[in-house]
Each structure stands twice: as structure tokens, then as C-alpha cells.
């Protein structure tokens, strides 16, 4: 299923002539039950693909929002196995929306890549992004994922030059994630003008759709990026909604899904002629 699910989703987006909206949530944030409720609500709120973060104690590429989300999740006992359980529960109700796990290498080391890949495929995961496993270190993981037909989704960044790009896109499938700013998640803002040529470059080198993230927080920015990329990723702005809802003692699920719906609308309508949006 897996790779096919991601490919089918991008084929449909192409047919609809619009960019996809990729939402990131942290497994177990703020607690396992609420995280499942959010996850189950995402497709109806407008998420085309879903990234589920599995928490790590030392997330060195994350800004404060996702660092804090990981701490909240770990505080509630979230683990890699429970993250897979979460995806499995989601899969029982949704067979079409691609789910990509995103996180760091060390939690994968404990079960080992082969056992992890098998369990992930069984849970209904479609792909994996590991922030601290660059291409140079990725072959053992890529082998394990290949055996289960899971996509290893690579990150290309502003520092990835033309000489390096072929290295980055080797053994990748599904789509390529373009990190639009040199920095951690949720701090700097993407400059769509500077991102556009890079999206073209990555698309040409990989022959795959390109999703853009790391610097997209607002509806305006999401719409700008949706005009040039195949998909727009929003993460920190969503986990901030979790934090803000908790602080204000509001309904976390409702607040996150409201934000998702607003962002999804701007992504979905970005390429259609303006009707006053």
C-alpha cells in the first residue's frame, strides 16, 4: 500500500490542479487520546497528507514549539510503539490519507530499523522522515524501508547545492521535503520568492513532488508557497495551537482543527483566480 498511497494522493492533487496541505502533529501531544482525536479530524479539516512526529528528548532541529510538544508528549508516556498504535487506530477509519512519521534516529535504534519498518508498515505508515539521518548514513534504514515498501522522504535545504542534490534525492520516493529556511522549525519565515527556484531545482533533480515546510506559519505564507510547491507543510503553528489551547483551558482538538481548516482553505484556493480571498 504505502508508497502507492502517497503517489495516489499526489496524482489526485495534480488532477485537481492544487497544492496539497501537509499537517504535522506530535504523537501524544497533549495526551494520547486528544492526539488521536486531532489525527482523526485532520482529513475532514483539510489535511491531504499527515506527518506524525514521534517524540525525542533531544530534537536538535526543532525550535521551541516542537521541543515543547515533544516534552508534553514524553511527559504523557508517548513512545515510538505508541506512535505506531496511534497510526493503526487512525488507519482503521481512514485508508487513503498518507501518514508519514517524522523524528530522530535514536528511538529507531532500539527496535532496530528492520523490526521498526515491519511494525510501521503493519500500522499503516507510508513513509518516514528522520531529521538526523542524512543520505551518507541512510543506507541501512533505506534497505529496511524498501523491504516494506515504505518511502524514505528526504530533506533538501537552502544549503543543498546542485552538486549535492543528486546525493540527497538518491533512494528517495513519495516526495521531497524542501526545508525553506536554514534554521530550526517554527522560527524563521520562508521567503516564497527565494523558495521558488529551489522547488524547481529539487523537482527537476528528483522527478518527485516537492513539499515545502519549516517556515510556514500563516495563511498568507501558506497560500504563497502553495502557488509554487506541490504541497505546503505546517507544523509549529499547529502545535502552538495545542499549547495555546492548554494555556487558555480551551478545547484543544477544536482549536487545532479550526486552524487546520483555515490554513487548508488558503492552500486549496491559492491557485484559483482571486475571489476576494
Amino acid at each position: 500500500m504505502s508508497r502507492a498511497r502517497i503517489d495516489a494522493r499526489f496524482a489526485r492533487l495534480r488532477a485537481e490542479g492544487r497544492a496539497g496541505f501537509v499537517t504535522y502533529i506530535m504523537a501524544g501531544d497533549p495526551d494520547p487520546e486528544t492526539a488521536l482525536a486531532i489525527l482523526e479530524g485532520l482529513p475532514a479539516a483539510g489535511a491531504d497528507l499527515i506527518e506524525v512526529g514521534f517524540p525525542f528528548s533531544d530534537p536538535l532541529a526543532e525550535g521551541p514549539p516542537i521541543q515543547r510538544a515533544a516534552q508534553r508528549a514524553l511527559g504523557r508516556g508517548m513512545t515510538l510503539q505508541k506512535t505506531l498504535d496511534l497510526v493503526a487506530a487512525f488507519r482503521r477509519k481512514d485508508a487513503e490519507t498518507p501518514v508519514i512519521l517524522m523524528g530522530y534516529a535514536n528511538p529507531l535504534e532500539t527496535p532496530g530499523y528492520v523490526a521498526f519498518a515491519r511494525a510501521a508498515a503493519e500500522a499503516g505508515v507510508d513513509g518516514l522522515i528522520v531529521v538526523d539521518i542524512p543520505p551518507e548514513e541512510a543506507d541501512p534504514l533505506a534497505d529496511a524501508l524498501d523491504a516494506e515498501d515504505l518511502s524514505l522522504i528526504r530533506l533538501a535545504t537552502p544549503t543543498t547545492d546542485d552538486r549535492r542534490l543528486p546525493v540527497v534525492v538518491r533512494r528517495t520516493s513519495g516526495f521531497v521535503y524542501y526545508v525553506s529556511v536554514a534554521g530550526v522549525t517554527g522560527v524563521k519565515e520562508a521567503d516564497a520568492g527565494a523558495v521558488a527556484p529551489n522547488v524547481e531545482r529539487v523537482r527537476a533533480a528528483s522527478g518527485l513532488p516537492v513539499a515545502v515546510g519549516f517556515g510556514v506559519r500563516t495563511e498568507e505564507r501558506a497560500a504563497e508557497v502553495a502557488r509554487i510547491a506541490d504541497a505546503v507543510v505546517v507544523g509549529s503553528a499547529l502545535v502552538d495551537e495545542v499549547a495555546d489551547a492548554l494555556a487558555a483551558n480551551e478545547d484543544v482538538t477544536g482549536r487545532v482543527l479550526t486552524k487546520v481548516a483555515a490554513l487548508a482553505k488558503s492552500v486549496r484556493t491559492a491557485r484559483t483566480p482571486s475571489r476576494g480571498a
Binding site: 536538535l60 544549503t159 522560527v187
Partner: protein
Amino acid sequence: MNKIAPLNDYTAYPDRSGRFGDYGGRYVPETLMPLVHELEAAFRAAIADPAFRGELDGYLTHYVGRPSPLYFAERLTRKFGGAKVYLKREELNHTGAHKINNCMGQILLAMRMGKTRIIAETGAGQHGVATATVCARFGLPCVVYMGAVDVERQKPNVFRMNLLGAKVEAVTSGSSTLKDAMNEALRDWVTNVHDTYYLIGSAAGPHPYPEMVREFQAVMGREAREQILQVEGRLPDAVVACVGGGSNAIGMFHPFLNDEGVRLIGVEASGDGMDTERHAAAINGGRPGVLHGNRTYLIQDPVGQITEAHSISAGLDYPGIGPEHAFLHDVGRAEYLTCTDREALDAFQLCAELEGIIPALETSHALARLPEICAELGPEGIIVVNLSGRGDKDVNTVAQALGRSI
């Protein structure tokens, strides 16, 4: 234990991909990969360049104060009643520890690469002070990331860094100690890729750092090897050093790696004891994993979350260990013992009382294992201990631990 068969040349590591056997590597986000490749190329070019070597040697001689003496610790030797104890006096270096050896090498490299801003992480503050020192000397802006807990327990070093013109950023994420400072420094680097040089102080991090830090610290081992041959006419039976990240130990060990008769002994901090969860002994109490750019032994929970290390010594309070130590442990070339907070405190006082040398709490961990090693080797034996740093920075911590106010 599965020991790999002894190898002919232990100095042949890391390999081209930055591996020491199973350990090391480059586990960093893609944004940093072009930078670590660039750094490796610049490092190789620099150390092959006689002009760079000459410049570094000049500063090591006239600014750092090298070579450091190898001193026969007569009264400690008599006290332990066994092998002769020699101390490699790294605490006499400018800034009071071995850390400056590496900082001098890396700052010259950073300038050669055209970098204009320096960042560093620090635990005890020794590496932060050494980095701030070389930045002051060469006029480069410097930001030092330090865990908020360490800022509190190493106030004199924080003030020293400020005097030297460095900005000290207190890190409050995670456990607010060295590992979190390293996370924050990596986040800075990934954000400021164009002008910033990350001056790592441990023989850890992504390749080429473990090799580079070792190279710049190996001056200690090379000197010590020459000095002991001069004084004793033979190699020592053992070389002993404390290990946190492991830069002072690897710098001492490396020139002796192929001297098979020389035992290499690292001492990890076992904090409250290995029967508790409050320790910082990655090899003795951890298992392999990936953190801060390399694969190595890590203190972690059963599902792969890094757990808080504990040691009275801020410089050893780190849940990992340099990848080359992980390798030397697995192949059996080096031994890794442990020492509790209490034992380190006793050794700290003993060295001060008997030799008139106040050692750093980090160093005290190495000193604490001497009674057994001296007894085992007997009066004919010779031991070289890396006296990696001085303990002035630790007097508040020690006074507090001894229940005295100053």
C-alpha cells in the same frame, strides 16, 4: 562480551566516512551536511600545510605555554605504595585546562575558512573559557551555550567568559546541562550557516570533529610519551584519564594506541553510584545509539530517550562519550572504570594536600582510581595521569559538598 580480534593499527581510524568501527559518523540534519563536508576538507588541508602547523605550534608555545611538564608525584606515589605516578600538568596551560589546545587549533582553522562568528557549548565552563579566550585573542565574536544548571554551579567561569567578551547563553531546555547546551549550539549553527563556526570542545559530534579534536589534543600524548621516555627510559605501564565526552583522554591515549604494552584507562563518572540512575557513565551504564551527530554509547531509557546524566563534575555530566572511546572499549584496547562523586571529592582533597595541586573535579575522577592501579602494577610500574585541569573553578561546589561555607 563480544570482543573484536585485536587489530594491527588502532590509529587507522576513523575511516573515510568518519567511522570508528560501528561508531561515529555524521548524523546531522541535511542543512549541516555541506558544512561538515566543507569543514573536513578545510581541516585536511590545514593539517597538511606546514604554515598552519607552524602557526599553531607558535601559539601553543608562546600563548598556551606548551610543552606542559610531566611531573613525578612523589607523595601520591608514596601514599599509594605502588607504581610511580607521573602527572601530565595540563592544568598549567593558559586558562587552566587542556581545553585550550583544541581551541587554538580550531580558531586558526575557523579564520582560515573565513568564518567570522564563533559558537561553543560548555559544561564546566572550561571549554567555554578557552573558546572565549581565543576569540578575544583573535577578535572574533563568541557565543557560549551553557546549561542553566551549570551556569549556576560554575559562576566563576561564567564571569570569566563575560570578562573575555563572550556572550553566555543559559540553556533552559531539557535537563539544562551540557547535552542541552550542545543541542542549542547545533540549533544556532543550523540557523547561522554562512558565517558561523561551531567550535566543539569534546571529541564528539559529527565527523570530522572527533578526529579533529583528537588531533589537536594529541599534543598532550605526544609530549608525555617523549617526556616519560626521557625520564624513565621506557614507556609507562598505564595512561589514565577521566572521560566525559573524552577529549583529554583521547588526546593522551592516541599516541600510545599502538604501544600494546601500555594500558589505557579511562575513568567515567558514576555520580551517586552505578547501582543508582544518577550517573554519567555512558560505557559502563549505557548502550549504543545516536546523539549529537554520532553513534556511540549513550545513557538512555529502554525506548531510546536520552536520560539525564549526573555527576558532581559539570564537565563529565554528559550522557554520551566520544565515538573513538566506544570503539576502543569494544575492541578491548582501552579499559573504562568508574568513580563516584564521593571518591572524586576524596581524591580532590588528597591531591591538594599531598602535592599542592588543586585538581579539577573532572580530573579527580582519574586520580581516584590510582590506589588500585598503583597496587596492581606494583613498585616497578609507571603510570602517567592526565592532570587535565585545575580545580579553582570547583571550590564552591566542593565546599558545598563538604558542608562548609566560604
